[in-house]
Amino acid sequence: MLPIFMRLKVRSAESRGFGLWFPVILIWIIFGALLIALLPFILLAALITSWRGPGFALLLVYPLAFSVLWNLGGLHVETKNARSEVLIDFS
């Protein structure tokens, strides 16, 4: 499932830190637009490198990027000790 929100929490002994609910769906929209804008250049690069190099495998970037983003939901990273705390959660 495509994550819609990212929860970010950073806290340290020196500062109060901050907590944030970020609507990552906005980033996905910008990222999607960027991928579309880059498509002609990637096609060109694929053509140029088709003799020797990655060639049309470069076009795999699109489905692979989509697959990673789509499956990012549920990722949870949390570290905590006496001095600091970091939490990143995609939901």
Partner: protein, 141 residues
């Protein structure tokens, strides 16, 4: 119901085997089924787990008291592995060479999703005790 189970029950119905024998055979079959720690290497095991978890709990001798809790979706791991297809072949050779120099005979280009399934289906629960200071647990859920 699998073909093997059917066969065992048919043999029981035909009185070719006793109830005890049938029970033993069925339990042996159950322990080798996917998701129950299959080690048959068929690669066809369907992973019932959704997440790979890594936790670090500080032990009594831990100086920093670090606590780590990581949950990675299995699908994300599989999607990440597919990026390996984009690594140029000569770069893959360099990676493999560097690994071999460290004594690790491993070819990254040969990793397939089925291999990952094999690894994960046998990863019931792994606990690593680091010098009695921290307890590292790697498991699936």
């Amino acid at each position: 119901m699998t073909e093997e189970r059917k066969k065992i029950l048919e043999m029981l119905a035909e009185k070719k085997i006793s109830v005890d024998e049938a029970e033993r055979l069925l339990s042996a079959l159950g322990s080798s089924e996917p998701g129950n720690g299959s080690a048959d290497g068929s690669g066809a095991a369907k992973i019932p787990w959704k997440y790979l978890r890594v936790t670090v709990e500080p032990g009594p001798g831990s100086p920093s008291g670090d606590k780590v809790n990581i949950r990675v979706p299995m699908k994300l791991i599989r999607a990440g592995l597919k990026w390996a297809a984009l690594i140029p072949k000569n770069a893959q050779g360099e990676v493999n060479k560097a690994l071999q120099e460290k004594g690790i005979d491993f070819d990254f280009s040969k990793i397939k999703p089925e291999d990952l399934n094999d690894i994960l289906s046998n990863l019931d629960e792994l606990v690593v005790d680091v010098d009695g200071k921290d307890k590292v647990r790697v498991f699936c859920e």
